[in-house]
Symmetry: C2
Subunit: 458 residues, 2 copies
């Protein structure tokens, strides 16, 4: 077998990169559990017809077939399966399937791989890990969850700053504000306006104004008002005041606008208190407003804005429905692979070693391997990760074995007849070697497990 | 959308079941890391031609295609992808791809889902989780790793006995013993003999004897000797002595037999010391001896033998090869989904609650939600998982909200003007309610996180 080459769009990490990814996953899990989210995992596949309920995603789905399957078999075609492309569609299905066994409102987190048959680009993969939190209610879901969830993500992402994740900005908007404002102006093609506004970053204000007139039925004045709304952003109540001032000036009044502004105001005030500077109301955010029904969230890494959003989501009034009951939900999803690939690719973080082992126990001869195994067992029984040298090579070679992996300590068992009393342990970084007892010795806490640190910290 | 039904062969758990699964995964990961195995994760897909290198697995593979892909496109067909059906094929590819960046012998664990398009049965799934450990060397790999790896698995599975996993027996055999014995007898169709012996459990000794004569070229005496070898099992050196006695009696001498017996003896002696009673040398084990080159392992749950092996593996002299270098390896794989589905399905274990939250903070009115949020933040800052009541319902309803989820404590914030000094916390199991300070109160350690316990323990 020749040396294989990587598959574009299917990222994999070397062991030290995986330590970084695992650390990110552990921090996210811990944060989500501190906030009472229950972990679930869904199967990787869904019936194709469920995956294709929203037409626009159809091009991204990987369809499965068994190799020996008759491609003409009608029954199999009817039950065709595809890999899930997000964790929201599977979650909605899980909620419906298990509604009788779940307690609502149901808070869940879900950390899994998803697949999309897209053209790979920087930060855009065909296989990647998402970390989602959602709260779903049966019949109703109070607005305060739309305040809570981005703040949980702010905390989770904030916890990663210790390892070198750049600052984040969570940008929020509210469908009700946009729709209420447009309707108040007299515009009825809300989706058309949103589609045009969504192009602001790409084509600029003048071209968007022309689009609004040409395709969304707006007058020049209405177009200008829409663009002015989109220019408003901020981290405090002044955002609401500025929208109110604009709405008054252009005569855009609508009860949906009032409702949306009350909500948005509640969110920015809570965020000012609990995650100052992180949450920014940004009325330009239009992506997702066509399918979310309330709040919508996007998140950028400061200094890495071109990477795109690393954490997005919003509120659905109908996450799922079985006819009798409607399940509204609100949630956000972190693109873990996108974040980790940037952390690693830009050299922002590193693991302090590539293996879990804190100690390598040296072997003086293969006949004495038992003695080294006994030392390892004694250390492990107190939670210290240990491996035993693969061969009774010269000690210099055994020390290099540890050094190549970043294992900080090498243990030298004394002669069997000494019963452990002649054991010594060497810190191979400093060279310091001291007598040690495998029943009591511990490495310094910072050496016990590999740590993930900002790459500038040595 | 009507209520969806489960897909056969694609198991999913309710939140309390997932707590059990997650606990099992955490115990495995912890054990593997204590022994210095580095975690890696490989992509879910491999090129189809790699997956099909062993013909016999071809029927099990799920092939992927992008929904919009032209099925006639030659380029795409050449690069067809399939979902991996185990973690060994991807690991071998990963080793070759990254050999220049890995330090050998390389110890890795890998816990991931795999997919097989088989007919689902009890304990046999189409999507399931495997947990693998392997050690792979560059050019050479000492025998002592074949002793070490099953003992790591014995420790990992032993650590699960605390939550109600039944005892396990790790059955070991050695290709060299079997092949050396057969060759010493004068039999040359080793694979044929192994195939016949593998049918012992299904068709019985007489039928196997007939097969050995008819298909493996054995005489009646040779067939009887092969069956006698297969009847030997035990947990100590006596196993080796009995094989030697038999070999002497039937005149089966071969250096491969001597080498294999020396290895097997080393394994049973180490196991007697480090995992007494768990490892059983069983010369009947033939499955896998056709492709493993040294030790082979199977594991049964005592009392659940009909479930099949829950942890299998062995030694490959050529796990991978790039032409210049050959990479021998030894490893075992736990069928996590098989174990977890039995633990849950047979009611052997349970989680003490279905959510991470140790505390529900009650909300006296929506205006005072801030006050409850502040209590939650104070508790979380000390690592206590907390959720805040979803609505300011009557306290009885809020307590029922906690009770339904198994949350043991409900926190009642005092009036805002008391500044926390009038807070109380109730243990809803005992009904005991005491004054408490959110800056210092802790739940008992056993209530901090959901625990997984044997189902008979209340």
């Amino acid at each position: 077998m020749a040396r294989p080459t990587p598959l574009s769009g299917f990222p994999e990490w070397l062991p030290d990169g995986r330590i970084v990814e695992q650390h990110v996953l552990d921090v996210l899990r811990r944060t989500f559990e501190l906030h009472g989210f229950a972990g679930i995992e869904t199967r990787a596949v869904e019936p194709l017809d469920q995956l294709l309920r929203k037409g626009e995603t159809s091009k991204e789905v990987y369809v499965l077939r068994r190799l020996q399957e008759d491609p003409e078999a009608g029954a199999e075609r009817g039950g065709q399966l595809g890999l899930h492309f997000d964790l929201t569609v599977p979650f909605a299905r899980y909620v419906l399937e298990n509604a009788g066994h779940l307690a609502f409102p149901f808070r869940r987190y879900q950390i899994q791989k998803v697949w999309r048959g897209e053209r790979p680009q920087d930060g855009r993969f065909r296989e990647f890990v998402q970390a989602d939190i959602d709260v779903v209610g049966a019949g109703e879901l109070a607005y305060h969850f739309e305040v809570e969830l981005p703040l949980v993500m702010a905390e989770a992402l904030g916890a990663l700053r210790a390892i070198g994740l750049p600052e984040v900005r969570i940008l929020v908007n509210n469908r009700k504000v946009a729709e209420g404002f447009y309707r108040g102006l007299g515009l009825t093609d809300v989706e058309g306006v949103l589609r045009s506004i969504d192009k602001l970053d790409k084509i600029g204000a003048d071209a968007v104004a022309a689009l609004l007139v040409a395709e969304a039925g707006a007058t020049q004045d209405q177009a200008r008002a829409c663009l002015e709304l989109a220019s408003i952003s901020g981290t405090d109540q002044s955002v609401v005041d500025r929208v109110l001032e604009l709405a008054g000036r252009v005569g855009a009044r609508h009860e949906l606008l009032d409702e949306g502004l009350a909500e948005l105001g509640q969110l920015v005030r809570a965020a000012q208190d609990r995650a100052p500077g992180v949450v920014v109301a940004d009325l330009r955010i239009a992506r997702g407003l066509d399918y979310y029904t309330g709040s919508v969230y996007e998140t950028v890494l400061v200094g890495h804005e071109q990477l795109g959003s690393i954490c997005s989501g919003g509120r659905y009034d109908t996450l799922a429905s079985d006819g009798a009951t409607t399940y509204p939900g609100v949630g956000l999803s972190i693109g873990v692979s996108r974040v980790v690939s940037r952390l690693l690719g830009a050299g922002l973080v590193r693991a302090t070693r590539s293996v879990p082992s804190a100690v390598l126990v040296a072997v003086s001869s293969e006949e004495d391997r038992d003695r080294s195994d006994a030392v390892a067992t004694a250390l492990r029984s107190r939670g210290i990760p240990v491996e035993v040298a693969p061969s009774a090579a010269k000690f210099g070679k055994q020390i290099r074995h540890a050094d190549r992996r970043g294992i900080p300590f090498v243990w030298f068992p004394g002669p069997a007849e000494a019963g452990g009393s002649a054991d010594q342990v060497k810190d191979i970084r400093s060279g310091e070697q001291v007598a040690a007892d495998a029943g009591t010795w511990c490495p310094p806490a910072e050496d016990l497990h590999p740590r993930v640190v900002a790459a500038t910290v040595s």
